[in-house]
């Protein structure tokens, strides 16, 4: 039993590691797009992972084969080569495509419900539960008086 569990754990670990390593590789970046400077290329990859491909919508531009994603990857590299900071490159794309292009949406008044809605709902639910149990009658009723004790004894005697 224990050895079976160990095997299962090992398989699980192996699977997570494989997926973890696979996830780190940018899948759609073509060799001819890459920059010769590995530092710049790494920054381009980091930015590419954070930008949404607007054609496929659930892939980053680094993962997508769409033409527009390729154009955006090249644009990101052009901006970096021109000396832009990572934030400047991202702002450049956001100015054209809006916050939707960011895979991680920023915290602002439009996204408050998105960021804090689930936590607020959970807090409301917990408050409800606490309130409900606080209102329940106390678990320890007052002790029995002499007459009640007498009656209880007689009932118990009848039973046996």
């Amino acid at each position: 039993m224990i050895s079976a569990m160990k095997t299962a754990a090992a398989i699980f670990l192996a699977l997570t590691l494989t997926v973890g390593i696979g996830g780190g590789i940018a899948r759609a970046v073509e060799p001819d797009e890459m920059l010769s400077d590995p530092g710049l290329e790494q920054r381009a990859r980091d930015i590419g992972q954070r930008l949404r491909c607007l054609v496929c919508q659930n892939q980053s531009i680094d993962d997508s084969q769409a033409d527009l994603a390729r154009d955006l990857r090249i644009l990101v590299r052009q901006r970096l080569k021109a000396g832009d900071s990572d934030q400047q490159v991202i702002d450049f794309v956001v100015a054209r495509y809006g916050d939707f292009v960011l895979l991680k949406p920023p915290v602002n008044k439009d996204t408050l419900a998105l960021w804090f809605g689930p936590a607020a709902l959970a807090a409301l639910g917990i408050a409800g539960i606490v309130f409900y149990f606080a209102r329940q009658p106390k678990a320890n009723p007052p002790p029995l008086d002499a007459a009640e004790r007498e009656r209880l004894q007689s009932l118990l005697r009848d039973d046996s």
Partner: protein, 178 residues
């Protein structure tokens, strides 16, 4: 009081369902636009080559009158679908229609316009698609309404329908011309 407490969770749940259901009715491929209400991006495009060539298009050409900027391509099927509407609007002569030809090769666009008719008074050739990115487009066709004073009033991703034209685009253009 008891009643109210009993119905409150149900009311919250129904409200929640209503919000989720509302999201189902929106087309998620229609993205919000970052450029509506903003100045027209700076660009300067050469004309397309071939039989239906018109003068090229740059930001300064869009000043003066309210009009429509339409991104199109000869390889784009929905562009063909909306084309008769643009031709009809061009025939009325009320508002200028400017074309930006997105990623076409050679004189493909000119051939296409030769065959289907040419509604555009000016056409810029965006062969690299860079101007498209500056306008924030993510496909063709896309149509923008401009106010003639250098601002974008409206954007429609995807093909135009006559309903879009009657209910949104023409009213905006008429209001902008006042």
């Amino acid at each position: 009081m008891m009643r109210f407490k009993f119905f409150l969770p149900i009311a919250v749940f129904v409200l929640f369902l209503a919000i989720l259901f509302d999201s189902l009715l929106h087309d998620p491929s229609k993205l919000p636009s970052a450029l509506v209400g903003k100045p027209i991006p700076e660009f300067d495009l050469p004309p397309i080559s071939g039989p239906q060539a018109r003068p090229g298009l740059k930001t300064a050409d869009l000043a003066g009158k309210p009009g429509i900027v339409n991104f199109f391509a000869s390889w784009c099927i929905p562009c063909k679908a909306e084309h008769p509407l643009l031709l009809r609007l061009a025939d009325s002569g009320a508002f200028p229609i400017y074309g930006i030809n997105y990623k076409d090769k050679g004189d493909a666009a000119a051939q296409w316009l030769q065959e289907l008719g040419n509604p555009y008074s000016r056409i810029g050739a965006d062969t690299a698609g860079r101007v498209g990115i500056d306008w924030g487009i993510y496909g063709v066709p896309e149509t923008f309404v401009i106010d003639g004073a250098g601002k974008i009033l409206y954007r429609q991703p995807g093909p135009l329908t006559s309903t879009d034209l009657e209910t949104k685009i023409l009213p905006l253009l008429k209001q902008a011309s006042k």
